[in-house]
């Protein structure tokens, strides 16, 4: 009967209850969403690159270098010349290196020129290697290996021909139309920016730019694919490279040596340190967001209590009737608490649903635009803590109208006072 009373009483006031539910749903979804993004972003960020001791690029801030080399966000300011790269990797402490050449794209997905070492040495998450789901790594010049998302979203299969575009926009006006690439491999999903990348060889990058100069096709000089293959395709420069050392002890020494490299201004960064710095920056923003969403939740809860308090005046008669039928004031207190609890729990469920749907919709966009790989599983221990805290908070706030109902029925008895 208590449950029925609470349910029907809420239904009777469905106009205001609906608005309360709406504001609670949005604010709880906001809170849970930001908390979820925080956790997922941290996981996604820290698991992006692993096992790499140094990342080397042209002289730049370490965040800039990290963002474009690992997250494919932003652009490099300058390149590293091929001879410099060749000289540095001869260093006795260097075990392996992965060259990276960026600057082209395919339908919004970044194209990365690299070498076979990439598939051999690149590690993500807990030192997991890249795995080819289908096909093989590229061996020819006009061959490409796709990240899992690229293949899935664009519906590409092995053997398909694709064209690359110059520049990194989703829509590009200058295409490398004359030199199509064949898909020879598709990587298994990693949950890192690798999934969003089109991989080709360094020679391919060189080949498609043979008849280009200063970022534009050279008029009067056109080479088709076959002609390009006849040319010397040794790269002239690369964007950055990743380095694995024989001993991690040498990391700082090598970093200093690269930073002081005489022939070219270079920067070497420790990915772990840069990731930590990046996370610290983002973490501050996200903490702020969390505080704001907490305040929004508080406002929504206070709003609910306000509407409840306003309705208490109209419900005096109802309370008097319940009292006359033999209800103890405690019963009325519990009734009010139960109503609040019902609204809160229903709001939490709908907030979870809202969050889930939003994540499903936004997942790809977050991954493509911000390099954020967000999982869909929003039920974690942390979420349960939040849910408990929200219920507790609403119950605490519901004490106000609850106690009011309790005291009013005690003092007014069966009569309604104006």
């Amino acid at each position: 009967m208590l449950m029925k009373l609470a349910r029907l009483s809420l239904w009777n006031r469905r106009g205001t209850v609906l608005m309360t539910w709406l504001s609670l749903t949005i604010s709880i979804a906001l809170l849970l969403g930001i908390d979820h993004l925080r956790t997922e972003a941290k996981n996604s960020f820290t698991s992006t690159v692993s096992g790499t001791d140094l990342i080397v690029g042209a002289r730049a801030g370490q965040l800039n270098l990290l963002l474009y080399s690992v997250f494919r966000i932003g652009n490099a300011t300058a390149n590293i010349s091929w001879p410099s790269y060749q000289r540095i990797i001869k260093h006795p402490q260097i075990a392996w290196s992965i060259p990276i050449s960026l600057g082209d794209s395919h339908r919004g997905y970044r194209v990365m020129g690299t070498s076979g070492e990439y598939f051999q040495y690149y590690r993500y998450a807990n030192s997991q290697p890249l795995v080819l789901k289908e096909g093989t790594a590229f061996s020819g010049v006009f061959e490409t290996v796709l990240g899992a998302d690229v293949a899935q979203k664009l519906g590409y299969t092995l053997g398909q021909q694709i064209e690359l575009s110059h520049g990194v926009g989703a829509v590009s006006f200058s295409q490398h139309k004359d030199k199509p690439f064949t898909v020879v491999g598709i990587l298994a999903r990693t949950g890192t920016p690798v999934d969003q990348t089109v991989h080709v060889s360094l020679e391919a990058i060189e080949a498609i730019h043979l008849d280009w100069q200063q970022g534009a096709p050279m008029p009067g000089r056109q080479l088709n694919a076959a002609q390009a293959l006849a040319q010397d395709l040794t790269p002239k420069s690369i964007t950055a490279f990743m380095v694995g050392l024989k001993s991690r002890m040498a990391t700082f020494t090598l970093q200093r040596q690269i930073n002081e490299y005489k022939n070219e201004p270079l920067t070497a960064i420790l990915p772990g340190v840069a990731l930590a710095e990046l996370w610290q920056m983002l973490g501050m923003v996200e903490n702020l967001l969390l505080v704001i969403s907490l305040l929004v939740l508080m406002a929504a809860l206070v709003g609910m209590i306000t509407t409840l308090l306003a309705s208490m005046k109209q419900r005096q008669r109802e309370m008097a009737v319940l009292r006359a039928a033999g209800a103890h004031p405690w019963y009325l207190f519990v009734l009010v608490q139960l109503e609040v609890l019902l609204v809160t729990v229903v709001s939490m469920l709908s907030a979870a649903a809202l969050l889930f749907v939003s994540l499903v919709v936004l997942q790809d966009k977050l991954a493509a635009d911000y390099g954020l790989f967000v999982g869909l599983n929003i039920i974690r221990l942390n979420t349960l803590y939040w849910a408990g805290a929200i219920v507790l908070l609403s119950a605490l706030l519901a004490m106000v109208p609850g106690v009011l109902a309790y005291r009013k029925t005690l003092s007014d008895g069966l009569t309604v006072r104006l």
Partner: protein, 236 residues
């Protein structure tokens, strides 16, 4: 199942027995003093009085909502003046039915649920309460088609009859009515009075009816003015 149990013997325990009852909201303020009142099972008492004469306070005392400052009050032998708030509430649920002037019902509950409310607080067997509620509603000429409708869709006269059904459902020993006819027209009022008192009789229920409308006193065995009550005049 029968609605009433025939009374063969005069009951030994009076339904209401109050002695030297005193009540005030604030010390030194307005005060209600009642020297003595005894009402036996099945007796119907009409109490009239002007506004402010303490009618409502008397009803609040009788149903245990407010507690007397001093004196004794027994309802069916239970010492109401000694009981805690919670015990008074459950005593009210089991032994006292209350009908107000108007708005007796929870608007969003169905007619049947409104009726069953009192048995819920009295902690009675659900199935038994349901069959008794259905009988009561039928006897109060509330057709079955109305039972599942929300109380707010009923006419005032119908609402007041549902209120009687609810008040009488837990077989109370005392029915307290606070001007339940004030919102009814004269035809409805007459019908209401007769059906209420008949049902009270059928349940062997003592009735205390409070009103300022003297024309209603013809329905009652006993009539008292609040002034007489304060002087200790006994109904006879």
């Amino acid at each position: 199942m029968t609605l009433s149990t025939p009374v063969t013997d005069k009951p030994k325990i009076p339904a209401i027995d109050l002695k030297q009852l005193k009540f005030h909201y604030r010390p030194g303020g307005w005060q209600l003093e009642l020297p003595e009142l005894t009402l036996h099972s099945g007796q119907h008492l009409f109490v009239r009085g002007a506004s402010g004469s303490g009618k409502t306070t008397l009803l609040n005392l009788l149903c245990g909502i407010t507690r007397p400052v001093s004196g004794e009050l027994f309802i069916s032998g239970h010492a109401l003046h000694k009981l805690s708030g919670g015990a008074r509430d459950s005593l009210r649920a089991k032994h006292i039915g209350v009908v107000f002037q108007q708005l007796n019902l929870i608007p969003y509950l169905s007619v049947l649920d409104n009726t069953l409310l009192s048995s819920h607080f009295a902690g009675q067997n659900k199935a038994e309460a349901l069959s008794r509620a259905e009988q009561l509603l039928q006897r109060l000429s509330l057709q079955q088609s109305l039972w599942q409708q929300p109380a707010s869709e009923l006419s005032v006269g119908q609402q007041q009859r549902v209120a009687i059904a609810r008040a009488l459902l837990p077989r109370p020993t005392l029915l307290i009515a606070d001007e339940p006819t004030s919102a009814l027209d004269s035809d409805n009022r007459d019908a209401f009075m007769r059906v209420m008192l008949a049902e009270a009789d059928a349940n062997n229920c003592t009735v205390v009816f409070v009103s300022h409308d003297k024309s209603l006193q013809q329905y009652f065995h006993y009539q008292l003015d609040m002034l007489q009550l304060k002087q200790g005049v006994q109904p006879c």
